[in-house]
Symmetry: C2
Subunit: 260 residues, 2 copies
């Protein structure tokens, strides 16, 4: 399976697309990076460049400045043709068609957005596991609540979500979620599965056993040429304790047996 596309993006300006995101974590920026990497689209990951070259946190602060008209609430921000776009799903809805990752028809394009919003809802729930009380407090200030939230999640919600994604794949006769080619939701679901393996390995072990269709999607995306070279490059940041998906041994709970 190859998602490498010929697209407008490989035109005169090699950095037509500029991504602004936290330079030290995957986070929500990773869903955007994967779209560029899967299609071999050149983009500038601005904040990972040195500050002396216009990158770093200074670049992020500049793009988030409240004095910027129509500025974003939070990163990721994508700059394309002098326009700043924000909100991960809106960015993907915009670049999907440009990169050939947004379905083959208006109906498929809309469907990509709907499924992406589900994936981002799942991701938000996973973020809440280590920050159930507030993003304004450290994990260490909400550990007791985090344990309780995770216990509930690995025994209830996670299975609703995984059942749902597996059902979509089954109905579409996989390995794609929408239509007959790779779309950006496939890349995002790949990232979600990778994140779950990192953050909740005991839960992931059951997912891997129980959902062959999810595993088939993960393999198919992992075999895309652009993704393969990305994952083995230095451009791919490792998962860490600052991102959405965090490994805390005390939260790696074993789901109750009735699930498996």
């Amino acid at each position: 399976m190859s998602a490498r596309q010929t697209s407008e993006s490989n035109s005169t300006d090699p950095f037509e697309f500029e991504l602004f995101y936290w330079p030290f974590l995957q986070g929500r920026g990773e869903f955007i990076r994967l779209a560029f990497e899967a299609t071999g689209t050149r983009y500038r990951d601005v904040c990972r460049m040195p500050e002396s070259d216009g990158g770093g946190l200074a670049a992020l602060r500049a793009v988030l400045s409240p004095s910027l008209p129509a500025g974003p609430f939070a990163p990721p921000v994508l700059r394309h043709k002098q326009i700043n776009l924000f909100q991960t799903a809106a960015i993907l809805d915009y670049i999907g068609p440009l990169l050939g990752l947004g379905g083959n028809s208006p109906a498929e394009t809309r469907r990509c957005l709907q499924i992406q919003l589900c994936i981002l809802d799942t991701v938000a729930e996973i973020h809440n596991l280590h920050h159930p009380i507030s993003t304004a407090l450290y994990y260490e200030e909400q550990k007791v609540e985090a344990l309780r939230a995770t216990h509930s999640f690995v025994n209830t919600r996670i299975w609703k979500w995984m059942d749902y994604y597996a059902l979509i794949l089954e109905q579409n006769n996989g390995p794609f979620l929408v239509g007959d080619r790779t779309g950006y939701p496939d890349l995002s679901l790949f990232q979600l599965l990778a994140g779950l393996e990192y953050a909740l390995p005991r839960t992931y072990a059951i997912i891997a056993q129980k959902y062959p269709r999810l595993m088939a999607l993960r393999s198919a995306v992992g075999e895309i040429e652009g993704i393969q070279s990305y994952l083995s490059s230095e451009r791919r940041l490792p998962f860490n304790q600052d991102g959405l998906f965090r490994f805390y041994a005390e939260l790696d709970l074993e789901p109750e047996q009735s699930i498996a």
Copy 2:
């Protein structure tokens, strides 16, 4: 200010649009209802009809059935021309242009989606206040955590969000968030403010003092003819303890003085 538009929706089939949502609460379905009501667009609020007429929870269960190809994960669901759409922001992105609520240009249409996603993020944070640990548990099972979450929210996050919406209005020289006419994000921000007044009246009192631009938006939307008649009709469900915005006296905390 009038948002009543001539649109395709007032054509031969008076119920071209069918909304499927929990019949006893506003919830996320309300953001869709407001778009129809503001524009005088006829729609069928299917699950509020009696089961004997094809409505009720039976209709909701049917549209959520996993056997339905390409079905939704959760309500609201909008059926239009035999297609089921789900995810609130995706539904609004679809109906916005049809109803004249999606901006005057592709750039404005995209901007509506971006701002709507922010509003729905704010709404999700507010939902988490009474369900910080899990949506699979009752509020009564997470009251201690809810109090802690709310304390943090009314002293930190809420002001980031309100500052942001006020800034957008200021930059656009209000009362609209995008361009020079009512868009669906205006209706959603109206709903968010109404929900905050219900759920967190002490916090809302400060918002009302501190942000004249937010109050101007709320007034302007409230004066739309379709909204006026909707709010005084039986179609508008009251806020209650099953929705997104809930009033629990113990959570109605006074923000710390430094905020005001």
